[in-house]
Each structure stands twice: as C-alpha cells, then as structure tokens.
Symmetry: C2
Subunit: 161 residues, 2 copies
C-alpha cells in the first residue's frame, strides 16, 4: 500500500506549464535544468509533451532552496541531487541480499553529501546570526539617535516661541 502511494506520487501527470506555475520558475528554466542534468528527463505524452511528477516538483523546489538559501551553483547542486538519483535507483532496483556492500557504499555517499550540506548550512547560520545581532545593535543605536533628534527639535521649537 505504501508502494501504491509512492507510485501515485510518481505518476507523471503534470505538463510543463503547470510545473512552471507551481514552482515559480519558467518553462525555459525547467528545460534548462533537464539539459544540465538537474532534472531527470521526464516521460512524454504521445505528441512529445513533457509529463512531470510531484517528485519532480519537489525537486525543483529543492534546487531553488539550494540556490537561494545556500547560494550554490547549478554544478554544485547537480552533485547533490545526483545523490537523490541514487536513492530512487536503490528503491527501484531493490535487490535485497547479494549486494549489501554496494548498497552500503551508496548510503555512505548519501551521508557524505548530506553532511556537506549540513556543514554549509551550519556555517552560514552562524555567520548570519552574528550579522543579525550586529544589525539589531545598529538599529537600537539609530533609534536612540532618532529620539535625541526629536527631543532637540521639540526643544528648539519651544525656545522659539
């Protein structure tokens, strides 16, 4: 049953326009990502129209997060999403016993990639926390200056009467 749900999620039924609308990127961008290997070549309708799945949508969103939040290049992002490919490959070709070593090394690879992402995020989070603190202090200072100036103005207005 879990399998059925998985299949339902993977059922490609979205045209490129809808994916574009939902993810906020252009059709051009979707084709571009495909060309660069960031998205797997989607299945097609008889006429050749691309058909995307919900998984593909999730993937595009992930790419955008890696771009916007971490500032990674598409080349770097490609490396990371390739690890996702391996996951799906693992799930598809589920040959349980014999190749345990192979599966182990792939899980290991995924662990490494995930740890790298985590390191990047952690470093950025730290630096940004520092920056936010400084900004807060700055703001407080300006607010003070502003209050002073307001007082000055009202005083000089009072003395002018």
């Amino acid at each position: 049953m879990a399998e059925k749900e998985t299949r339902a999620r993977d059922l490609p039924c979205l045209q490129i326009g809808e994916v574009a609308d939902r993810t906020g990127v252009t059709q051009r961008t979707l084709r571009f990502y495909e060309e660069r290997g960031l998205l797997r070549p989607p299945s097609r309708m008889d006429g050749g129209f691309r058909l995307y799945s919900e998984d593909d949508v999730a993937r595009v969103e992930q790419i955008k997060r890696l771009q916007n939040l971490l500032g990674l290049t598409l080349a770097e992002i490609k490396e990371m999403v390739e690890a996702e490919e391996i996951k799906e490959e693992l799930r598809a070709t589920y040959r349980p016993d014999l190749e345990v070593d192979e599966r182990l090394s792939r899980v290991q690879k995924r662990i490494e990639v995930t740890e790298r992402q985590d390191n990047i995020i952690s470093a950025k989070l730290e630096a940004m926390a520092v920056m936010k603190k400084e900004l807060g202090e700055k703001l407080a200072h300006y607010q003070e200056v502003k209050a002073d100036l307001h007082k000055q103005r009202s005083e000089s207005a009072a003395s002018a009467t």
Copy 2:
C-alpha cells in the same frame, strides 16, 4: 580624542595590493567596486596610486558578507552601502542645530535600510533553520539504514560459515 582616533582609522595608508591581500578579493575587484559606486573613490598618492583606509577594508568585508550570506546583487548592495555614505557625511559635516529635520530624515533612511537587511536575514535564517532540521532527520535516517545494512552483512557472513 575620539575624533583623533576616528581620523587615525580614516588615514588612507594602504595600497591596493595590501587591501586585496587582506580582504581576499583581487585588485580588479576593488577597482570594479569603485567603478560601480560600491567604494568611494579613494585618495591617491602623487603618482596616482590608490590609498585606502581601514574603513575601506571594513567596507569591502561588508560587501562580501552581503554577497555571500544574503546573495544580494551588487546593485542591491550599492543601495545599502550608500546609506553608509550618508553616515559619514553626517559625521563630517556636523552642523548641529539648524538642519535637525534633515538629519532626522537621514537617520530615518538608515533605519529603513537596516530594517530591510534585517528582514532579509530573518527570513533566510528561518528557512535555513527548517532546512537544517530536515537535513538532521535525513542524516539520522541514513545512519539507521547504514546500521541495518551492517547488521545484515554480519549476519549473512555468520550463516555462510
């Protein structure tokens, strides 16, 4: 005395090469930032060599932070550092009383810019925190899978004897 220190910090005495070394950007980049209005045109030696101050170094570092952490474009960064200009202008032409309104509106401008930065940072921090949490869960999951596989392997090894 505070004024003397400020002047000491502003004393331009660094050549472009040293600034490049200290900030980790190239000389080309420094000239480029100047061209784009991100750095004020520095003073020059008799022969025309640029002379930077410590304040300039700090500015370059700030630019780099805004680029790397927030992913802002140079155009956006320019807007922000222009507010810094106003600060220095305020400090230089310290005409206390008369133009209180003018000073108020400039402080107000700086407050707005700072708040914008703060908003960007806050949003990013939040999104990144979510991402970090997800990554943590992912990692935990993989570790589990890894442990399972290890167990499988040792078991099949045992049954093979």
